[in-house]
Symmetry: C2
Subunit: 138 residues, 2 copies
Amino acid sequence: MGFRSFLHRLTAPAPKGTSPNGPCKMICVVNHELKMGKGKVAAQVGHAAVMATMNAGSHTPFLLDYWLSTGQKKVCVKGTDAEHLLALEQMAKQAGIQTTLVHDAGHTQIPSGSLTVLALGPDADDRLESITGELKLL
Amino acid sequence: MGFRSFLHRLTAPAPKGTSPNGPCKMICVVNHELKMGKGKVAAQVGHAAVMATMNAGSHTPFLLDYWLSTGQKKVCVKGTDAEHLLALEQMAKQAGIQTTLVHDAGHTQIPSGSLTVLALGPDADDRLESITGELKLL
């Protein structure tokens, strides 16, 4: 897919027959144990969103198109710690949902290499709910 | 630029002669007047990061390459209100820096259409500092 046609498709209708039925979103599970401040969390979710978008462009372009053309909804929820995020990652992989892990470069606040965010999707709401439906909003 | 080659270039060295001299980053100026919670701010910065990345892919691909291959640094700072964000946007435009505005869809917390984030760049640190150097970290 050409990058310009990719950009063009942001405003075009999603391709027929390839979209999920109903709403879709990206979930960002934030590692709550790290006690990151508001700006730090926001930057890490920014990393996750960009990385997951590029992953989806490579692996699930129809889901990406659909998500972008329907408002690129993102929801941030709390994960207990790194172990919790990795367990959720495994569940998502088994369900065929795209996963993206963000490790911090360690410039500020937390140790280098810390697992800060797990991004799931973009994918259909109901598929994501089966993995993260019990988690509290950040 | 093909989307796959765009992805490949994430790990490749920046093209010679087209990169800024020294470090570069993306600045996200968050509208502090809206008193958004941590998860809301993170989602809005996520929108800004994805939109600014796609804008840069279209308009300043060499800056995007350089930023992605050097760790896609993002810094979140506080703007006073929507008027402040729009004034910063004008200053950045006059300096030739890419600007991206995020308006909230209004699903939660704040009125629909609120200006939540101004993203500047990616661009060279020193060029961005001239616009946002006085602003406090979020």
